[in-house]
Subunit: 315 residues, 2 copies
Protein backbone atom coordinates (compact mmCIF):
# COMPACT_ATOMS: atom_id res chain seq x y z
CA UNK A 1 0.00 0.00 0.00
CA UNK A 2 1.45 3.34 -1.08
CA UNK A 3 0.20 6.08 1.23
CA UNK A 4 -0.17 8.83 -1.35
CA UNK A 5 -2.38 11.36 0.46
CA UNK A 6 0.33 14.03 0.46
CA UNK A 7 1.87 13.25 -2.96
CA UNK A 8 1.56 15.30 -6.14
CA UNK A 9 1.25 13.34 -9.39
CA UNK A 10 5.00 13.40 -10.00
CA UNK A 11 5.83 11.83 -6.60
CA UNK A 12 3.01 9.33 -7.01
CA UNK A 13 4.23 8.16 -10.45
CA UNK A 14 7.74 7.76 -9.10
CA UNK A 15 6.59 5.63 -6.14
CA UNK A 16 4.32 3.44 -8.27
CA UNK A 17 7.05 2.79 -10.85
CA UNK A 18 9.50 1.93 -8.09
CA UNK A 19 7.09 -0.61 -6.55
CA UNK A 20 6.35 -2.10 -9.98
CA UNK A 21 10.08 -2.52 -10.55
CA UNK A 22 10.34 -4.51 -7.30
CA UNK A 23 7.27 -6.76 -7.55
CA UNK A 24 4.72 -8.32 -9.89
CA UNK A 25 2.30 -8.73 -6.97
CA UNK A 26 -0.83 -6.56 -6.74
CA UNK A 27 -0.57 -3.48 -4.53
CA UNK A 28 -2.74 -0.53 -3.55
CA UNK A 29 -2.50 3.25 -3.48
CA UNK A 30 -4.21 5.06 -0.61
CA UNK A 31 -5.71 8.48 -1.37
CA UNK A 32 -7.30 11.22 0.74
CA UNK A 33 -10.82 11.85 -0.58
CA UNK A 34 -11.14 15.65 -0.85
CA UNK A 35 -13.78 17.37 1.29
CA UNK A 36 -15.44 20.76 1.06
CA UNK A 37 -14.16 22.92 3.89
CA UNK A 38 -15.35 26.13 5.55
CA UNK A 39 -12.98 28.71 6.99
CA UNK A 40 -12.33 32.42 7.01
CA UNK A 41 -9.06 34.25 6.49
CA UNK A 42 -9.16 35.59 10.04
CA UNK A 43 -8.82 32.02 11.34
CA UNK A 44 -5.61 31.64 9.34
CA UNK A 45 -4.26 34.97 10.57
CA UNK A 46 -5.02 34.06 14.19
CA UNK A 47 -3.35 30.68 13.81
CA UNK A 48 -0.30 32.32 12.27
CA UNK A 49 -0.06 34.48 15.41
CA UNK A 50 -0.09 31.37 17.60
CA UNK A 51 2.52 29.69 15.41
CA UNK A 52 4.81 32.73 15.27
CA UNK A 53 6.94 31.82 18.33
CA UNK A 54 7.73 28.41 16.81
CA UNK A 55 8.62 29.94 13.44
CA UNK A 56 10.82 32.59 15.06
CA UNK A 57 12.65 30.02 17.16
CA UNK A 58 13.32 27.98 14.02
CA UNK A 59 14.19 30.99 11.82
CA UNK A 60 11.17 30.50 9.55
CA UNK A 61 8.98 33.16 7.93
CA UNK A 62 5.18 33.05 7.78
CA UNK A 63 4.20 31.03 4.68
CA UNK A 64 2.21 32.73 1.92
CA UNK A 65 -1.49 31.96 1.85
CA UNK A 66 -1.59 28.78 -0.15
CA UNK A 67 -4.63 27.94 -2.20
CA UNK A 68 -6.39 24.68 -1.48
CA UNK A 69 -6.10 22.35 -4.48
CA UNK A 70 -7.08 19.03 -2.95
CA UNK A 71 -9.64 18.22 -5.65
CA UNK A 72 -7.23 18.84 -8.52
CA UNK A 73 -4.55 16.78 -6.73
CA UNK A 74 -7.04 13.95 -6.23
CA UNK A 75 -8.10 14.01 -9.91
CA UNK A 76 -4.45 13.98 -10.99
CA UNK A 77 -3.76 10.99 -8.71
CA UNK A 78 -6.69 9.06 -10.19
CA UNK A 79 -5.26 9.65 -13.67
CA UNK A 80 -1.80 8.46 -12.66
CA UNK A 81 -3.28 5.35 -11.04
CA UNK A 82 -5.24 4.55 -14.19
CA UNK A 83 -2.39 5.12 -16.61
CA UNK A 84 0.08 3.11 -14.50
CA UNK A 85 -2.48 0.31 -14.02
CA UNK A 86 -2.50 0.13 -10.22
CA UNK A 87 -5.07 -2.60 -9.44
CA UNK A 88 -6.33 -1.51 -5.98
CA UNK A 89 -7.23 1.96 -4.69
CA UNK A 90 -7.99 2.67 -1.03
CA UNK A 91 -9.76 5.84 0.10
CA UNK A 92 -9.71 7.59 3.45
CA UNK A 93 -11.53 10.75 4.77
CA UNK A 94 -14.64 9.89 2.76
CA UNK A 95 -16.14 8.23 -0.28
CA UNK A 96 -15.34 9.53 -3.78
CA UNK A 97 -18.23 10.56 -6.02
CA UNK A 98 -20.08 8.08 -8.25
CA UNK A 99 -18.32 9.27 -11.43
CA UNK A 100 -14.95 8.31 -9.99
CA UNK A 101 -16.25 5.02 -8.55
CA UNK A 102 -17.84 3.97 -11.86
CA UNK A 103 -14.81 5.05 -13.88
CA UNK A 104 -12.48 2.99 -11.67
CA UNK A 105 -14.81 -0.01 -11.57
CA UNK A 106 -15.08 0.08 -15.37
CA UNK A 107 -11.29 -0.03 -15.46
CA UNK A 108 -11.43 -3.20 -13.32
CA UNK A 109 -10.07 -1.66 -10.13
CA UNK A 110 -10.74 -3.02 -6.64
CA UNK A 111 -11.87 -0.17 -4.36
CA UNK A 112 -11.34 -0.09 -0.59
CA UNK A 113 -13.17 2.37 1.65
CA UNK A 114 -12.48 3.31 5.27
CA UNK A 115 -15.02 3.42 8.11
CA UNK A 116 -14.77 4.35 11.79
CA UNK A 117 -18.44 3.59 12.53
CA UNK A 118 -21.14 1.22 11.29
CA UNK A 119 -22.88 4.11 9.53
CA UNK A 120 -19.70 4.95 7.59
CA UNK A 121 -19.22 1.28 6.66
CA UNK A 122 -22.79 0.99 5.35
CA UNK A 123 -22.30 4.21 3.32
CA UNK A 124 -19.13 2.72 1.82
CA UNK A 125 -20.96 -0.46 0.84
CA UNK A 126 -23.92 1.47 -0.59
CA UNK A 127 -21.57 3.63 -2.67
CA UNK A 128 -20.09 0.51 -4.28
CA UNK A 129 -16.83 -0.01 -2.38
CA UNK A 130 -15.61 -3.61 -2.76
CA UNK A 131 -13.97 -3.86 0.67
CA UNK A 132 -14.17 -1.72 3.82
CA UNK A 133 -11.51 -1.07 6.46
CA UNK A 134 -12.97 -1.01 10.01
CA UNK A 135 -10.58 1.44 11.64
CA UNK A 136 -10.73 1.61 15.43
CA UNK A 137 -9.92 4.32 17.96
CA UNK A 138 -6.47 2.83 18.67
CA UNK A 139 -5.19 3.61 15.15
CA UNK A 140 -2.22 5.95 14.70
CA UNK A 141 -2.20 9.07 12.52
CA UNK A 142 -5.36 10.22 10.77
CA UNK A 143 -8.30 7.86 10.79
CA UNK A 144 -10.69 7.81 7.83
CA UNK A 145 -13.70 9.34 9.63
CA UNK A 146 -16.14 11.35 7.52
CA UNK A 147 -19.18 11.64 9.80
CA UNK A 148 -19.55 13.29 13.20
CA UNK A 149 -21.68 12.55 16.28
CA UNK A 150 -22.33 15.63 18.45
CA UNK A 151 -19.59 17.38 16.47
CA UNK A 152 -16.99 14.68 17.10
CA UNK A 153 -15.56 11.91 14.95
CA UNK A 154 -16.50 8.36 16.02
CA UNK A 155 -14.21 7.00 18.78
CA UNK A 156 -15.00 3.28 18.75
CA UNK A 157 -12.35 0.75 19.81
CA UNK A 158 -11.25 -1.84 17.23
CA UNK A 159 -12.45 -4.87 19.21
CA UNK A 160 -15.90 -3.30 19.48
CA UNK A 161 -16.07 -1.79 15.97
CA UNK A 162 -15.06 -4.79 13.84
CA UNK A 163 -17.87 -7.26 14.74
CA UNK A 164 -20.51 -4.51 14.63
CA UNK A 165 -19.42 -3.54 11.10
CA UNK A 166 -19.16 -7.20 10.04
CA UNK A 167 -22.79 -7.70 11.14
CA UNK A 168 -24.01 -4.74 9.08
CA UNK A 169 -22.27 -5.04 5.70
CA UNK A 170 -21.93 -7.89 3.22
CA UNK A 171 -18.58 -6.82 1.70
CA UNK A 172 -15.29 -8.09 3.21
CA UNK A 173 -13.97 -6.17 6.24
CA UNK A 174 -10.31 -5.38 7.01
CA UNK A 175 -9.60 -4.70 10.71
CA UNK A 176 -7.29 -1.78 11.60
CA UNK A 177 -6.22 0.08 14.73
CA UNK A 178 -3.74 -1.18 17.33
CA UNK A 179 -2.86 -4.39 15.45
CA UNK A 180 0.88 -5.12 15.55
CA UNK A 181 1.51 -8.87 15.54
CA UNK A 182 0.15 -12.39 15.03
CA UNK A 183 -2.04 -12.03 18.11
CA UNK A 184 -3.75 -8.97 16.65
CA UNK A 185 -4.17 -10.69 13.28
CA UNK A 186 -5.83 -13.78 14.79
CA UNK A 187 -8.02 -11.54 16.99
CA UNK A 188 -9.11 -9.63 13.85
CA UNK A 189 -10.05 -12.86 12.08
CA UNK A 190 -11.95 -14.09 15.18
CA UNK A 191 -13.92 -10.81 15.22
CA UNK A 192 -15.07 -11.55 11.67
CA UNK A 193 -12.59 -9.54 9.59
CA UNK A 194 -11.11 -11.13 6.47
CA UNK A 195 -7.74 -9.44 6.97
CA UNK A 196 -5.88 -6.93 9.12
CA UNK A 197 -4.17 -3.65 8.19
CA UNK A 198 -1.06 -2.58 10.14
CA UNK A 199 0.37 0.95 10.11
CA UNK A 200 2.55 1.72 13.14
CA UNK A 201 4.00 -1.81 13.08
CA UNK A 202 5.67 -1.08 9.71
CA UNK A 203 6.50 2.55 10.51
CA UNK A 204 9.39 1.46 12.76
CA UNK A 205 10.79 -1.16 10.35
CA UNK A 206 14.22 -0.62 8.82
CA UNK A 207 12.80 0.03 5.35
CA UNK A 208 10.34 2.69 6.54
CA UNK A 209 11.04 6.23 5.36
CA UNK A 210 10.32 7.66 8.82
CA UNK A 211 13.16 9.50 10.54
CA UNK A 212 15.14 7.39 13.03
CA UNK A 213 14.31 9.86 15.81
CA UNK A 214 10.60 9.31 15.15
CA UNK A 215 11.06 5.54 15.16
CA UNK A 216 12.89 5.78 18.49
CA UNK A 217 10.22 7.99 20.05
CA UNK A 218 7.56 5.39 19.19
CA UNK A 219 9.60 2.41 20.39
CA UNK A 220 10.42 4.13 23.69
CA UNK A 221 6.80 5.16 24.36
CA UNK A 222 4.21 3.37 26.41
CA UNK A 223 0.57 2.63 25.54
CA UNK A 224 -0.69 5.69 27.44
CA UNK A 225 1.59 8.20 25.67
CA UNK A 226 -0.52 8.81 22.56
CA UNK A 227 -3.27 11.41 22.23
CA UNK A 228 -5.84 12.42 19.62
CA UNK A 229 -5.14 15.94 18.36
CA UNK A 230 -6.01 18.22 15.44
CA UNK A 231 -3.22 20.76 16.00
CA UNK A 232 -0.80 19.45 13.38
CA UNK A 233 -3.13 19.05 10.41
CA UNK A 234 -6.61 20.37 11.22
CA UNK A 235 -7.95 16.82 11.33
CA UNK A 236 -8.00 14.54 14.38
CA UNK A 237 -5.00 12.19 14.41
CA UNK A 238 -3.28 10.03 17.02
CA UNK A 239 0.34 10.66 17.92
CA UNK A 240 2.77 10.72 20.82
CA UNK A 241 2.11 13.60 23.23
CA UNK A 242 4.79 16.29 23.01
CA UNK A 243 5.32 19.99 23.66
CA UNK A 244 3.68 21.24 20.45
CA UNK A 245 0.55 19.16 21.07
CA UNK A 246 0.38 20.17 24.72
CA UNK A 247 0.75 23.89 24.01
CA UNK A 248 -1.36 24.11 20.86
CA UNK A 249 -4.22 21.98 22.24
CA UNK A 250 -5.29 25.15 24.06
CA UNK A 251 -6.40 26.44 20.63
CA UNK A 252 -7.75 23.16 19.24
CA UNK A 253 -11.21 24.65 18.61
CA UNK A 254 -9.74 27.54 16.56
CA UNK A 255 -7.56 25.32 14.35
CA UNK A 256 -8.34 25.82 10.61
CA UNK A 257 -9.59 22.64 8.89
CA UNK A 258 -7.43 20.18 6.98
CA UNK A 259 -5.49 20.76 4.73
CA UNK A 260 -5.01 24.39 5.86
CA UNK A 261 -3.55 23.71 9.31
CA UNK A 262 -1.40 21.01 7.75
CA UNK A 263 0.09 23.59 5.37
CA UNK A 264 0.56 26.14 8.17
CA UNK A 265 2.55 23.72 10.36
CA UNK A 266 4.51 21.84 7.66
CA UNK A 267 7.65 24.00 7.76
CA UNK A 268 7.70 24.08 11.57
CA UNK A 269 7.52 20.29 11.80
CA UNK A 270 10.06 19.71 9.05
CA UNK A 271 12.54 22.24 10.40
CA UNK A 272 12.19 21.04 14.01
CA UNK A 273 12.81 17.44 12.98
CA UNK A 274 15.85 18.43 10.89
CA UNK A 275 17.25 20.15 13.98
CA UNK A 276 16.61 16.95 15.95
CA UNK A 277 13.81 18.50 18.02
CA UNK A 278 10.95 15.97 18.03
CA UNK A 279 8.92 17.99 20.56
CA UNK A 280 7.65 20.21 17.72
CA UNK A 281 6.86 17.61 15.08
CA UNK A 282 4.12 15.00 14.66
CA UNK A 283 4.96 11.49 15.85
CA UNK A 284 1.99 9.53 14.53
CA UNK A 285 1.49 6.26 16.37
CA UNK A 286 -1.27 3.86 17.36
CA UNK A 287 -1.75 2.82 21.00
CA UNK A 288 0.28 -0.41 20.80
CA UNK A 289 3.67 1.32 21.05
CA UNK A 290 5.13 -1.35 23.35
CA UNK A 291 4.76 -3.86 20.50
CA UNK A 292 6.76 -1.72 18.04
CA UNK A 293 10.26 -2.84 17.07
CA UNK A 294 13.01 -2.07 14.53
CA UNK A 295 13.10 -5.11 12.27
CA UNK A 296 13.20 -5.70 8.54
CA UNK A 297 9.74 -5.38 7.04
CA UNK A 298 9.92 -8.84 5.46
CA UNK A 299 10.91 -10.36 8.81
CA UNK A 300 8.01 -8.57 10.53
CA UNK A 301 5.58 -10.03 7.99
CA UNK A 302 7.04 -13.52 8.50
CA UNK A 303 6.83 -13.15 12.29
CA UNK A 304 3.18 -12.07 12.10
CA UNK A 305 2.21 -15.02 9.91
CA UNK A 306 4.25 -17.56 11.90
CA UNK A 307 2.83 -16.33 15.21
CA UNK A 308 -0.71 -16.32 13.84
CA UNK A 309 -0.35 -19.90 12.57
CA UNK A 310 1.03 -20.98 15.96
CA UNK A 311 -1.89 -19.39 17.83
CA UNK A 312 -4.43 -20.99 15.49
CA UNK A 313 -2.80 -24.44 15.69
CA UNK A 314 -2.49 -24.38 19.49
CA UNK A 315 -6.23 -24.09 19.83
Amino acid sequence: MIGAGYFDSHQLSKEILEVQKLTQAPFAVNLFTPNDIKYDKKQIEQMNTKLKPYREALGLSTPKNSTVKEKEKFEDAIEVIESLKVPIIAFTFGIPNQNIIKRLHNAGKILIGTATSVEEAVENENAGMDIVVAQGYEAGGHRGSFTTINGEFPLVGTLSLVPQIVDNVSIPVIAAGGIMDGRGLVASLALGAGAAQLGTAYLTTNESGADDKIKNEIIESSETDTILTNVFSGKLARGIMNEFVHNMNLYSKQVPPYPLQNQLTTQIRKSALEKGYTEWTHIWSGQSTRLADTVDAAQLTKNIINDAVKIINNK
Copy 2:
Protein backbone atom coordinates in the same frame (compact mmCIF):
# COMPACT_ATOMS: atom_id res chain seq x y z
CA MET B 1 -19.53 -12.15 40.09
CA ILE B 2 -21.56 -10.06 42.53
CA GLY B 3 -20.97 -6.37 41.85
CA ALA B 4 -21.01 -5.14 45.43
CA GLY B 5 -19.43 -1.69 45.14
CA TYR B 6 -22.61 0.09 46.26
CA PHE B 7 -23.79 -2.50 48.83
CA ASP B 8 -23.75 -2.17 52.60
CA SER B 9 -22.90 -5.33 54.55
CA HIS B 10 -26.57 -6.28 54.93
CA GLN B 11 -27.24 -6.20 51.16
CA LEU B 12 -23.97 -8.01 50.48
CA SER B 13 -24.77 -10.85 52.91
CA LYS B 14 -28.20 -11.25 51.35
CA GLU B 15 -26.79 -11.47 47.80
CA ILE B 16 -24.04 -13.92 48.77
CA LEU B 17 -26.48 -16.21 50.60
CA GLU B 18 -28.83 -16.13 47.63
CA VAL B 19 -26.05 -17.12 45.21
CA GLN B 20 -24.89 -19.88 47.57
CA LYS B 21 -28.43 -21.24 47.69
CA LEU B 22 -28.45 -21.46 43.87
CA THR B 23 -24.99 -22.93 43.19
CA GLN B 24 -22.09 -24.89 44.66
CA ALA B 25 -19.77 -23.40 42.02
CA PRO B 26 -17.14 -20.83 42.99
CA PHE B 27 -18.09 -17.17 42.46
CA ALA B 28 -16.58 -13.75 43.11
CA VAL B 29 -17.55 -10.51 44.81
CA ASN B 30 -16.36 -7.27 43.21
CA LEU B 31 -15.52 -4.39 45.57
CA PHE B 32 -14.59 -0.73 45.08
CA THR B 33 -11.19 -0.13 46.70
CA PRO B 34 -11.61 3.07 48.75
CA ASN B 35 -9.46 6.06 47.80
CA ASP B 36 -8.47 9.20 49.69
CA ILE B 37 -10.29 12.14 48.15
CA LYS B 38 -9.82 15.91 48.25
CA TYR B 39 -12.71 18.36 48.08
CA ASP B 40 -14.07 21.44 49.78
CA LYS B 41 -17.60 22.13 50.93
CA LYS B 42 -17.94 24.98 48.43
CA GLN B 43 -17.63 22.46 45.59
CA ILE B 44 -20.61 20.56 47.01
CA GLU B 45 -22.64 23.76 47.42
CA GLN B 46 -21.89 24.83 43.84
CA MET B 47 -22.84 21.41 42.50
CA ASN B 48 -26.09 21.51 44.48
CA THR B 49 -26.89 24.80 42.71
CA LYS B 50 -26.35 23.16 39.31
CA LEU B 51 -28.48 20.17 40.33
CA LYS B 52 -31.31 22.29 41.76
CA PRO B 53 -33.37 22.53 38.52
CA TYR B 54 -33.41 18.73 38.24
CA ARG B 55 -34.42 18.30 41.88
CA GLU B 56 -37.16 20.91 41.59
CA ALA B 57 -38.55 19.34 38.44
CA LEU B 58 -38.67 15.98 40.21
CA GLY B 59 -40.01 17.35 43.51
CA LEU B 60 -36.85 16.45 45.44
CA SER B 61 -35.14 18.40 48.23
CA THR B 62 -31.38 18.96 48.51
CA PRO B 63 -29.89 15.96 50.35
CA LYS B 64 -28.14 16.49 53.68
CA ASN B 65 -24.36 16.51 53.57
CA SER B 66 -23.58 12.85 53.83
CA THR B 67 -20.34 11.75 55.40
CA VAL B 68 -18.02 9.62 53.33
CA LYS B 69 -17.69 6.15 54.85
CA GLU B 70 -16.14 4.20 51.99
CA LYS B 71 -13.35 2.73 54.11
CA GLU B 72 -15.72 1.45 56.80
CA LYS B 73 -18.02 0.00 54.13
CA PHE B 74 -15.05 -1.73 52.48
CA GLU B 75 -13.86 -3.19 55.81
CA ASP B 76 -17.37 -4.43 56.54
CA ALA B 77 -17.57 -6.06 53.11
CA ILE B 78 -14.26 -7.86 53.64
CA GLU B 79 -15.61 -9.26 56.93
CA VAL B 80 -18.82 -10.47 55.30
CA ILE B 81 -16.84 -12.12 52.49
CA GLU B 82 -14.62 -13.90 55.00
CA SER B 83 -17.40 -15.10 57.25
CA LEU B 84 -19.53 -16.32 54.32
CA LYS B 85 -16.51 -18.01 52.71
CA VAL B 86 -16.62 -16.37 49.27
CA PRO B 87 -13.62 -17.86 47.44
CA ILE B 88 -12.76 -15.04 44.97
CA ILE B 89 -12.61 -11.28 45.50
CA ALA B 90 -12.17 -8.80 42.65
CA PHE B 91 -11.10 -5.20 43.23
CA THR B 92 -11.64 -2.12 41.11
CA PHE B 93 -10.54 1.57 41.52
CA GLY B 94 -7.22 0.49 43.03
CA ILE B 95 -5.29 -2.09 45.00
CA PRO B 96 -6.17 -2.76 48.67
CA ASN B 97 -3.42 -2.37 51.27
CA GLN B 98 -1.03 -5.20 52.16
CA ASN B 99 -2.84 -6.01 55.43
CA ILE B 100 -6.02 -6.82 53.54
CA ILE B 101 -4.18 -8.72 50.80
CA LYS B 102 -2.27 -10.88 53.30
CA ARG B 103 -5.34 -11.48 55.43
CA LEU B 104 -7.33 -12.67 52.40
CA HIS B 105 -4.46 -14.75 51.02
CA ASN B 106 -4.05 -16.41 54.43
CA ALA B 107 -7.73 -17.28 54.27
CA GLY B 108 -7.08 -18.98 50.90
CA LYS B 109 -8.87 -16.40 48.74
CA ILE B 110 -8.11 -15.80 45.07
CA LEU B 111 -7.66 -12.06 44.44
CA ILE B 112 -8.37 -10.32 41.13
CA GLY B 113 -7.16 -6.79 40.41
CA THR B 114 -8.18 -4.41 37.62
CA ALA B 115 -5.85 -2.49 35.30
CA THR B 116 -6.45 -0.01 32.48
CA SER B 117 -2.74 0.39 31.65
CA VAL B 118 0.42 -1.71 31.76
CA GLU B 119 1.65 0.28 34.77
CA GLU B 120 -1.53 -0.52 36.72
CA ALA B 121 -1.24 -4.21 35.78
CA VAL B 122 2.36 -4.38 36.98
CA GLU B 123 1.36 -2.67 40.25
CA ASN B 124 -1.38 -5.26 40.71
CA GLU B 125 1.06 -8.10 40.18
CA ASN B 126 3.67 -6.56 42.50
CA ALA B 127 1.03 -6.13 45.22
CA GLY B 128 0.27 -9.86 45.10
CA MET B 129 -2.92 -10.03 43.02
CA ASP B 130 -3.39 -13.54 41.60
CA ILE B 131 -5.12 -12.46 38.38
CA VAL B 132 -5.48 -9.10 36.63
CA VAL B 133 -8.34 -7.81 34.47
CA ALA B 134 -7.08 -5.80 31.45
CA GLN B 135 -9.98 -3.40 31.04
CA GLY B 136 -10.05 -1.44 27.79
CA TYR B 137 -11.48 1.93 26.80
CA GLU B 138 -14.62 0.32 25.30
CA ALA B 139 -15.85 -0.91 28.70
CA GLY B 140 -19.19 0.32 30.05
CA GLY B 141 -19.72 1.97 33.44
CA HIS B 142 -16.76 2.75 35.68
CA ARG B 143 -13.41 1.29 34.70
CA GLY B 144 -10.93 0.33 37.39
CA SER B 145 -8.36 3.06 36.68
CA PHE B 146 -6.26 4.28 39.61
CA THR B 147 -3.45 6.18 37.88
CA THR B 148 -3.57 9.27 35.67
CA ILE B 149 -1.48 10.49 32.72
CA ASN B 150 -1.56 14.29 32.27
CA GLY B 151 -4.48 14.35 34.72
CA GLU B 152 -6.54 11.80 32.77
CA PHE B 153 -7.29 8.14 33.29
CA PRO B 154 -5.73 5.76 30.72
CA LEU B 155 -7.85 5.45 27.54
CA VAL B 156 -6.34 2.39 25.85
CA GLY B 157 -8.51 0.19 23.60
CA THR B 158 -8.96 -3.46 24.61
CA LEU B 159 -7.29 -4.91 21.49
CA SER B 160 -4.23 -2.76 22.16
CA LEU B 161 -4.18 -3.09 25.97
CA VAL B 162 -4.49 -6.86 26.40
CA PRO B 163 -1.31 -8.03 24.58
CA GLN B 164 0.75 -5.20 26.09
CA ILE B 165 -0.33 -6.23 29.61
CA VAL B 166 0.17 -9.94 28.81
CA ASP B 167 3.78 -9.16 27.79
CA ASN B 168 4.50 -7.34 31.05
CA VAL B 169 3.01 -9.51 33.81
CA SER B 170 3.35 -13.21 34.65
CA ILE B 171 -0.07 -13.64 36.32
CA PRO B 172 -3.12 -14.66 34.22
CA VAL B 173 -4.93 -11.83 32.39
CA ILE B 174 -8.71 -11.50 31.91
CA ALA B 175 -9.72 -9.31 28.94
CA ALA B 176 -12.58 -6.83 29.41
CA GLY B 177 -14.14 -3.96 27.47
CA GLY B 178 -16.45 -4.30 24.46
CA ILE B 179 -16.60 -8.11 24.56
CA MET B 180 -20.13 -9.41 23.95
CA ASP B 181 -20.02 -12.78 22.17
CA GLY B 182 -17.99 -15.78 21.04
CA ARG B 183 -16.06 -13.60 18.59
CA GLY B 184 -14.90 -11.32 21.40
CA LEU B 185 -14.00 -14.31 23.58
CA VAL B 186 -11.85 -15.94 20.88
CA ALA B 187 -10.24 -12.56 20.10
CA SER B 188 -9.39 -12.18 23.81
CA LEU B 189 -7.75 -15.61 23.91
CA ALA B 190 -5.81 -14.84 20.70
CA LEU B 191 -4.51 -11.63 22.29
CA GLY B 192 -3.08 -13.71 25.13
CA ALA B 193 -5.79 -13.44 27.79
CA GLY B 194 -6.79 -16.55 29.72
CA ALA B 195 -10.44 -15.51 29.91
CA ALA B 196 -12.86 -12.69 29.11
CA GLN B 197 -15.12 -10.64 31.37
CA LEU B 198 -18.46 -9.39 30.01
CA GLY B 199 -20.54 -6.65 31.62
CA THR B 200 -22.97 -4.98 29.20
CA ALA B 201 -23.72 -8.33 27.53
CA TYR B 202 -25.32 -9.62 30.77
CA LEU B 203 -26.89 -6.27 31.72
CA THR B 204 -29.61 -6.70 29.08
CA THR B 205 -30.36 -10.36 29.90
CA ASN B 206 -33.76 -11.28 31.34
CA GLU B 207 -32.33 -12.09 34.77
CA SER B 208 -30.48 -8.76 35.10
CA GLY B 209 -31.81 -6.40 37.77
CA ALA B 210 -31.53 -3.40 35.42
CA ASP B 211 -34.76 -1.55 34.63
CA ASP B 212 -36.41 -2.57 31.34
CA LYS B 213 -36.21 1.02 30.10
CA ILE B 214 -32.43 0.95 30.61
CA LYS B 215 -32.16 -2.39 28.79
CA ASN B 216 -34.16 -0.96 25.89
CA GLU B 217 -32.04 2.18 25.69
CA ILE B 218 -28.89 0.06 25.35
CA ILE B 219 -30.37 -2.33 22.79
CA GLU B 220 -31.67 0.54 20.66
CA SER B 221 -28.35 2.44 20.74
CA SER B 222 -25.56 2.35 18.21
CA GLU B 223 -21.82 2.00 18.80
CA THR B 224 -21.26 5.78 18.63
CA ASP B 225 -23.89 6.67 21.26
CA THR B 226 -21.79 6.15 24.39
CA ILE B 227 -19.59 8.77 26.03
CA LEU B 228 -17.14 8.90 28.94
CA THR B 229 -18.45 11.21 31.67
CA ASN B 230 -17.90 11.95 35.36
CA VAL B 231 -21.15 13.88 35.92
CA PHE B 232 -23.15 11.05 37.49
CA SER B 233 -20.64 9.75 40.04
CA GLY B 234 -17.53 11.94 40.11
CA LYS B 235 -15.53 9.19 38.41
CA LEU B 236 -15.18 8.68 34.66
CA ALA B 237 -17.67 6.09 33.38
CA ARG B 238 -19.07 5.13 29.98
CA GLY B 239 -22.77 5.38 29.31
CA ILE B 240 -25.31 6.34 26.66
CA MET B 241 -25.32 10.08 25.92
CA ASN B 242 -28.46 11.77 27.24
CA GLU B 243 -29.74 15.16 28.38
CA PHE B 244 -28.22 15.05 31.88
CA VAL B 245 -24.78 14.15 30.51
CA HIS B 246 -24.99 16.77 27.77
CA ASN B 247 -26.03 19.57 30.13
CA MET B 248 -23.86 18.68 33.12
CA ASN B 249 -20.71 18.05 31.03
CA LEU B 250 -20.36 21.84 30.97
CA TYR B 251 -19.35 21.56 34.66
CA SER B 252 -17.33 18.34 34.41
CA LYS B 253 -14.20 20.00 35.85
CA GLN B 254 -16.11 21.23 38.92
CA VAL B 255 -17.70 17.86 39.73
CA PRO B 256 -16.85 16.69 43.30
CA PRO B 257 -14.93 13.38 43.38
CA TYR B 258 -16.49 9.94 43.80
CA PRO B 259 -18.39 9.01 45.96
CA LEU B 260 -19.61 12.57 46.65
CA GLN B 261 -21.08 13.33 43.21
CA ASN B 262 -22.60 9.85 43.21
CA GLN B 263 -24.43 10.67 46.44
CA LEU B 264 -25.53 14.09 45.15
CA THR B 265 -27.11 12.65 41.98
CA THR B 266 -28.54 9.39 43.38
CA GLN B 267 -32.03 10.68 44.15
CA ILE B 268 -32.29 12.54 40.84
CA ARG B 269 -31.39 9.42 38.86
CA LYS B 270 -33.64 7.14 40.88
CA SER B 271 -36.62 9.47 40.75
CA ALA B 272 -36.21 10.21 37.02
CA LEU B 273 -36.08 6.50 36.21
CA GLU B 274 -39.15 5.78 38.37
CA LYS B 275 -41.00 8.45 36.38
CA GLY B 276 -39.84 6.75 33.17
CA TYR B 277 -37.49 9.59 32.23
CA THR B 278 -34.21 7.97 31.18
CA GLU B 279 -32.73 11.29 29.99
CA TRP B 280 -31.78 12.12 33.60
CA THR B 281 -30.37 8.78 34.74
CA HIS B 282 -27.16 6.87 34.03
CA ILE B 283 -27.36 4.24 31.29
CA TRP B 284 -24.00 2.50 31.69
CA SER B 285 -22.98 0.65 28.55
CA GLY B 286 -19.86 -0.41 26.68
CA GLN B 287 -19.35 0.49 23.01
CA SER B 288 -20.71 -2.78 21.57
CA THR B 289 -24.38 -1.82 21.99
CA ARG B 290 -25.41 -3.33 18.64
CA LEU B 291 -24.41 -6.76 19.99
CA ALA B 292 -26.68 -6.46 23.07
CA ASP B 293 -29.84 -8.54 23.23
CA THR B 294 -32.56 -9.61 25.68
CA VAL B 295 -31.96 -13.31 26.24
CA ASP B 296 -31.77 -15.59 29.25
CA ALA B 297 -28.36 -15.35 30.89
CA ALA B 298 -27.80 -19.12 30.64
CA GLN B 299 -28.63 -19.03 26.93
CA LEU B 300 -26.21 -16.13 26.39
CA THR B 301 -23.44 -18.11 28.07
CA LYS B 302 -24.22 -21.16 25.91
CA ASN B 303 -24.26 -19.01 22.76
CA ILE B 304 -20.89 -17.47 23.61
CA ILE B 305 -19.26 -20.85 24.20
CA ASN B 306 -20.85 -22.50 21.15
CA ASP B 307 -19.87 -19.60 18.89
CA ALA B 308 -16.33 -19.56 20.28
CA VAL B 309 -15.93 -23.31 19.69
CA LYS B 310 -17.24 -22.91 16.13
CA ILE B 311 -14.77 -20.09 15.38
CA ILE B 312 -11.86 -22.08 16.81
CA ASN B 313 -12.80 -25.27 14.93
CA ASN B 314 -13.30 -23.48 11.60
CA LYS B 315 -9.71 -22.35 11.64
